[in-house]
Amino acid sequence: MNANMPSKRIYIMDDDPDILDSMRMILEFRGYSVETALDGERIDQLNDHLPDLFLIDIWMSGVSGLEICKRLKMDQRTKHIPVVMVSANISIKDLSEQCNANDYLPKPFELTQLVGMVEKYTGGKLN
């Protein structure tokens, strides 16, 4: 890992704290900077320091990941940021296309899949 390079920032939304925790650990282990949210409320409070990638769960209590993705993709500020939908839903492929997400990652996923996906959308391998 190159200490001089600012690390890539990943924003993860999921309503299961354990999943958030494990994803954070996997990605932080690889030098990414991870921000997590248990619900969609905070998405509107994103400051100018926008992440490099969104990983969003589709089925969250209280809010739909699809709606959040659509909103991000309509917002001039965020529409360029890649979004990967993460879900246990069997129709994840179609749902992701519906909300204009860049890609999808079905749950449960292999560690290598998660890392591969993040690398793909943040410009290749770190270090």
Binding site: D15, D18, I19, I26, F29, A88, I90, P108, L111
Partner: protein, 1357 residues
């Protein structure tokens, strides 16, 4: 008779009137016959002719030795074509065709002066030039001349032909309706229809049913009225060449779409069965059977025609009605069949899903166990870093969460499959509940909540299944915990009336009123509830409800949304509400402790609980058992064994025991043999010789072993025997068995006793040579004329010494000594009843009673009252003597009413019978005095008109009210009122001749009612049935319409908007318009509004009925309620979706942690831990695969599996799949063989899934092999992919089910080959839905090859 003769003689023109036949009689040259000239005719003949001509009833008179025939106008139809030449002809010439039938009757009347009466006699008459089946009721009444000898007969006839034939045809039709309604298949309809027709062999000498086999286009005989057709030339299969006539008429029937009359069936099929007749039928009627709404004929009914009946419109339409009924039922079956299949498949799906639940739960447990053990193994190592330990703990917690889900699922499916086995026992429910509540305390307090436990005293015994009660309490508590963020959780237990009440209250989020109603529904989950965790799959509360139900109790909920919720469980105390065989004696020495594992799974924080066993409590059972033993320890031991279930009394010795037996109602005695004082045998003797106690079963206990003691015990009369030392189980089994026997024996004895006491015959039992009265019933006491106390247990002849006289005592002795039964018939006896003495006739029987050895111990005396029978018989004998008057035997009612007062001058018995009066009541009395009820109904006017005009009045089916046998009734009569003209030309009297036709009128009415009945059959169907015109205007509903809202209007178009659920409108309209336009079957599933305003799912179907041009003329429709099945199925699908999602979430985090840990362990070089982690990951993959299958199946069921359409290379796909799978297995080498390089168009991912499934199956089912071959080939534009293994293969009988859902191959042992049996089913659905084929070849122990083929897209060269 004198009066009438006088009046007649005054009148010169006795031949007046009488229409055509009257004229014939007047003009006939009677001098040329043996009757001689009219002037010489006797008064009797004149009177008879007068009666005959006046009657509307068909009457003929046979007079003189030749029985010369004279008849009236109504009779003409009977002689038919023989009129007019029959007039004046001798009867034997007129009736030569039936002479053999009537000659004996005539000679009886003529020679022996006996009247005859024949009712509905079958006569094959040639009235109209052909032999015809006719039925007549007629009587020959001998008429005496002046010298008293019979001069001739008068015969009144009623033709019953129409009535007999209509009623039997009606019977056939209504039987068809009744018998066919239960038929479930075409074959059954054919068979039942033939059975019904067979019962009417007059109209159906034979009937054959040929069915058109659409495959072979042949006509097969499927049913016939002949049980054995081998005696005839009836073909089983019709051939155009051999059975030309019949075949041609069938073809013609199809062409013209109408039945055909087939002449001379003999030439086609030879002699046919005769049915009820003596000659073979000549002709037949061929009716095509068409399914309603379809043009296509599916069979023919060939009916033999009655040879004695004109094939007229009536006969024809009857046949067609029969054929219509059969066709209608066949159509019904067609319609019902589909609906039934639909309902069955829904039910089957429901069952399959239940099985599936139970399977999947088991399947989940294996990987779960395998996941937990490596975690625990690593956690036990001390070298772990804090971080790794924390990660492992999270994994463990999530695994437990999964485990709880799975356990709930398993319980639930057990209950649903009816396999949850309860084991109820008396428990200290206070302690049990308190322990369970306390186990939550630390978790609750840690979360900052307060737990308040309030357990009050419970006095009644409570029976529960421990494990179930634990689940009830733990579920309610964990729910309360889950939904309460702050405040308190209260657990309260108390006794209320006959119930124990458990209340679990929390200050949580509460439940809204609509949710409260649904909260116990299966699979229901409160939406958007903010719980402590997101887990929960909506099973918990419905599980609790089921468990409470199993305890005969109920659960309720009260809540204030946002404030609090309270769940109240009540279960009855005692054990009467529980099935006896499930109740268990409390374990004396089992130390009970609450199920720690179970509590763990409720609380992720581990709180171990250990509690001491509550002592077993003693319960008053229904049975009282007396223990007699001098050994105190033994007594106590026995008491301990029996007390939980029975009331136990104890005695030190035999004497004490016997006293207790006398004081208490003891159900069973257990007694030691050796006791001081009165020993076991002594006690036995005392108990068994007292009639009050002799039925109490006694079980002996003895330390003396061996056969000898046993024989002694049983011979002494003990019921059972136990040798010390005995096991507790043995004792309890014997006690239970003996109590059961005793109860049933007592019941049988009581039953017999009450039977004897209540018998309508007098019964007494005498015992011993002194005839001591042991039993006497009330009826017998009437003979004794005394109270029971006076005779019971006393010698009968001591009580009644006077009865001993006249050989009665000797009779008793002889029965007692010889053992021979004595019977005395119709003896006159006196008896005493209600304070009076009566006499009557009796049949008395003396029957000896014997003991087991056959020696006589007494006798049973019965006396049956036959007074009525004897008196009746005597009365009949008297009546018979009275009934000898000529007039009285005439079947025609006659009376002469004199003057305007209508005084009854003469009347015959027939008339009296109709009037319901006796002679004394009517003779010489005025008509309207006798029948005041007839006044003011227009009858007077009728009579006065006759007096005024001198014209006769004829009334057919004249309705007359009759007061008969104390009841008002209506009668119908054909009546002639004939004026009798006096010498001065005025009307002096009126002769009334009448015949009752009530029966005929009623029969006709019943035919009409019968038609109505047929219509009402529709109401017997458990569905809404409707009929509509071609344009959809409804013309008929059955009564079920009352259950529906909005569609009540007859003759209106469907009011879709008010009837159907708005979401189903479009669908329904589309289906209906399509059906109307194309004339096809209308079939749609939609929600219909019920009368209570709710919507229920229905399957609506309608078949169009078409005319011969194919135009729809009518719709025959049904709506079947499929709401329940549909709802359940949908709920389960939703549920499966939720479960899958819920399952995937913990799996995702476990997987992530596992891989993370694996990486960390391998980074630091801890290879052992790293290997364990990889093993665990493997199990997680299996779990994921299972969950995916579960999701797929849900989608498949809903038809929601969507396929993409993309173009891809097969080789690439195979390479990819094989590469991935090869990574997971070291045991097998997956060999690829490519013979084609084609592209496919379809869902690449799904097809890959199929291939994955094939290969993983191949690995799974070939554990001993090491090679698998994957092949790609191409043939006839199809790409064929196959996977070959060298494994266990399949037995041929199992092969047919391999693609069924939930089916799985069984290996050597079940656990060798796990898998839910979903994979192949899903694969087959995936391939089929993309227009491909899937199949396999398999040889047991050699291996299997699975194939699928899909249309190839194009080659890539």
């Amino acid at each position: 008779m004198g009066a009438i003769q006088k009046k007649m003689s005054k009148q010169l023109d006795f031949l007046a009137g009488g229409g055509e036949t009257g004229e014939m009689i007047r003009s006939f040259d009677w001098a040329s016959t043996s009757l001689g000239p009219v002037e010489e005719w006797s008064e009797s003949l004149r009177t008879c002719i007068r009666i005959m001509l006046a009657s509307r009833q068909p009457i003929w008179i046979g007079w003189g030795k030749d029985i010369i025939k004279l008849y009236n106008d109504p009779y003409r139809t009977i002689v038919g074509g023989k009129h007019p030449r029959a007039m004046g002809q001798p009867a034997r010439i007129v009736w030569k065709d039936i002479w053999k039938d009537i000659e004996p009757l005539l000679s009886l009347a003529m020679d022996q002066q006996q009247g005859t009466y024949s009712e509905s006699q079958l006569l094959i008459m040639e009235r109209n030039g052909y032999p015809e089946e006719t039925y007549y009721t007629f009587s020959y009444t001998p008429i005496p001349g002046e010298d008293g000898k019979t001069e001739g007969i008068i015969c009144a006839n009623t033709e019953d032909t129409e009535r007999i034939i209509s009623s039997r045809q009606l019977l056939t039709l209504s039987k068809l309706g009744k018998d066919l309604i239960d038929c479930n298949s075409n074959i059954e309809v054919y068979y039942q229809a033939m059975q019904v027709l067979k019962q009417n062999p007059n109209d159906f000498p034979f009937a054959l049913m040929y069915e058109l086999d659409p495959n072979s286009n042949t006509l097969q005989l499927v049913a016939s009225t002949e049980s054995d057709i081998s005696d005839y030339n009836i073909p089983r299969q019709l051939k155009a060449t051999q059975h030309m006539d019949l075949f041609d008429s069938m073809m013609k029937a199809v062409e013209e779409n109408k039945p055909q009359y087939l002449k001379d069936i003999k030439s086609s099929l030879g002699k046919m069965p005769k049915g009820a007749w003596t000659i073979h039928p000549e002709n037949a009627y061929v009716i095509p059977l068409t399914e309603s709404g379809k043009k296509q004929v599916f069979g023919f009914l060939v009916l033999g025609l009655n040879p004695y009946r004109l094939f007229n419109e009536g006969y024809r339409s009857f046949f067609e009605l029969v054929a219509d009924q059969i066709a209608m039922h066949l159509s019904d079956i067609y319609a019902l069949d589909r609906e039934k299949k639909r309902a069955e498949s829904l039910a089957e799906l429901d069952r399959a899903k239940t099985v599936f639940f139970s399977n999947i739960s088991h399947e989940f447990r294996t990987p779960l166990t395998l996941m937990i053990s490596p975690i625990e193994e690593i956690l036990n190592k001390e070298i772990l870093s804090v971080e790794a330990r924390e990660n492992l703990n999270i994994s463990l917690r999530n695994t437990r969460r999964l485990q709880k889900l799975v356990n709930n699922l398993l319980d639930f499916s057990r209950i649903e499959a009816g396999r949850m086995d309860a084991d109820y026992e008396g428990v200290d429910i206070r302690e049990l509940t308190e322990d369970l509540a306390s186990s939550f305390r630390s978790a609750i307090e840690k979360a900052g909540l307060v737990l308040e436990v309030n357990i009050q005293s419970i006095t009644e015994p409570v029976y529960v299944d421990r494990e179930m009660w634990e689940k009830i309490v733990l579920n309610l508590l964990s729910n309360a915990f889950k939904y309460t963020a702050k405040g308190r959780i209260g657990v309260e237990l108390r006794e209320v009336d006959q119930y124990v009440e458990l209340r679990v209250k929390d200050t949580g989020i509460g439940i809204s009123l609509p949710e409260q109603k649904k909260i116990f529904d299966r699979f229901h989950r409160v939406p958007h509830a903010e719980g402590r965790t997101m887990e929960g799959s909506g099973i918990g509360l419905s599980l609790v409800k089921e468990l409470v139900k199993m305890h005969g109790g109920k659960i309720e909920v009260q809540s204030e949304p946002g404030e609090w919720s309270e769940f109240i469980v009540t279960i009855p105390t005692g054990d009467i509400h529980l099935p006896a065989e499930k109740i268990r004696v409390s374990r004396v020495d089992d130390k009970y402790s609450p199920n720690g594992v179970q509590i763990d799974s409720f609380l992720s924080n581990i709180i171990s609980v250990g509690a001491d066993t509550p002592p077993p409590i003693q319960v008053d059972g229904q049975s009282t058992i007396l223990i007699a033993d001098d050994n105190g320890d033994m007594r106590e031991y026995l008491q301990r064994l029996l007390a939980p279930k029975h009331r136990v009394l104890m005695a030190n010795n035999g004497e004490e025991a016997y006293n207790l037996v006398l004081q208490h109602k003891v159900d069973l005695i257990i007694s030691d043999i050796m006791m001081p004082g009165l020993d076991g045998f002594g006690l036995l003797q005392k108990v068994k010789y007292d009639s009050e106690t002799r039925n109490i079963p006694i079980i002996f206990l003895s330390a003396r072993a061996g056969e000898e003691a046993k024989i002694e015990g049983i011979e002494a009369g003990a019921d059972d025997y136990l040798v010390k030392p005995f096991s507790a189980r043995e004792l309890i089994a014997k006690v239970d068995a003996n109590i059961k026997i005793s109860i049933s024996r007592n019941y049988a004895e009581r039953h017999l006793y009450s039977l004897l006491m209540q018998a309508p015959v007098a019964i007494a039992i005498y015992r011993g040579p002194d005839f001591v009265v042991e039993l006497v019933n009330d009826r017998m006491l009437e003979f004794y004329g005394c109270d029971r106390e006076k005779v019971l247990n006393k010698p009968i002849f001591e009580v009644f010494p006077e009865v001993a006289a006249n050989g009665v005592l000797e009779l008793h002795h002889s029965v007692y000594e010889s053992g021979a039964r004595v019977e005395a018939r119709e003896q006159l006896h006196q008896y005493y009843k209600n304070g009076n003495w009566y006499s009557g006739y009796f049949n008395t029987v003396f029957e000896p009673l014997r003991d087991l050895n056959g020696s006589i111990t007494g006798m049973i005396v019965t006396g049956a009252d036959v007074t009525d029978e004897v008196l009746n018989r005597k009365k009949i004998e008297e009546n018979e003597q009275k009934l000898n008057s000529i007039l009285q035997q005439a079947p025609v009612a006659m009376a002469i009413l004199r003057g305007r007062d209508l005084v009854v001058d003469i009347v015959n018995d027939k008339a009296l019978e109709i009037a319901g009066k006796n002679r004394e009541q009517v003779i010489n009395r005025a008509m309207f005095d006798i029948f005041p009820e007839m006044k003011g109904r227009g009858y007077e006017e009728t009579f006065y008109t006759i007096f005024d005009t001198g014209n006769r009045v004829i009334r057919t089916e004249y309705e007359v009210p009759l007061f008969k046998n104390g009841l008002w009734d209506l009668g119908w009569f054909n009546t002639v009122m004939e004026p009798i003209i006096e010498a001065d030309g005025t009307v002096g009297s009126i002769l009334i001749v009448t015949i009752e036709v009530t029966e005929q009128v009623l029969a006709r009415q019943s035919i009409e009612e019968g038609r109505q009945e047929l219509n009402e059959l529709a109401n017997a169907v458990p569905q809404l049935v409707w009929m509509a015109k071609a344009d959809g205007k409804v013309t008929y509903y059955n009564d079920r319409i009352s259950e529906y809202d909005g569609v009540r209007k007859i003759d209106g178009l469907w009011e879709w908007h008010s009837t159907l659920h708005p979401d189903d409108l479009e669908n329904t309209q589309r289906a209906w318009i399509q059906a109307v336009e194309k004339g096809t079957i209308y079939s749609v599933e939609h929600r219909i509004k019920m009368s209570d305003g709710s919507f229920k799912w229905h399957l609506s179907r309608a078949l169009p009925q078409k005319d011969k041009n194919g135009q729809v003329i009518k719709w025959f429709g049904t709506a079947t309620d499929i709401d329940e099945a549909k709802k359940l199925s949908r709920q389960k699908d939703e549920f499966m979706g939720i479960v899958s999602h819920e399952l995937k979430t913990p799996v995702t985090s476990i997987k992530a942690y596992t891989q993370l840990l694996e990486q960390k362990f391998s980074t630091v070089g801890d290879d052992v831990s790293s290997t364990l982690m990889r093993r665990m990951d493997n199990q997680i993959n299996k779990l994921s695969a299972l969950i995916n299958d579960l999701l797929d199946i849900t989608k498949l069921d809903e038809g929601k599996l969507v396929f993409r359409n993309e173009n891809f290379s097969c080789i690439d796909l195979v390479n990819e799949v094989v590469e991935e799978l090869q990574r997971t297995t070291n045991s097998h080498d997956i060999v690829k063989e490519f013979f084609s390089n084609c592209h496919l168009e379809g869902d690449r991912e799904r097809i890959g899934q199929v291939l994955t499934n094939f290969i993983s199956n191949a690995i799974k089912y070939s554990p001993k092999a090491n090679k698998i071959i994957v092949r790609l080939e191409e043939a006839e534009g199809e790409m064929i992919c196959s996977v070959q293994d060298f494994g266990i293969g399949m037995l041929p009988e199992k092969q047919s089910r391999i693609f069924d859902r939930f089916y799985r191959v069984e290996g050597d042992t079940l656990d060798t080959f796990p898998g839910l049996g979903l994979g192949l089913y899903i694969s087959s659905e995936i391939i089929k839905r993309q227009n491909g084929k899937i199949w396999f070849e398999s040889v047991p122990q050699k291996g299997s090859t699975f194939y699928f083929s899909l249309p190839a897209y194009k080659h890539e060269n």
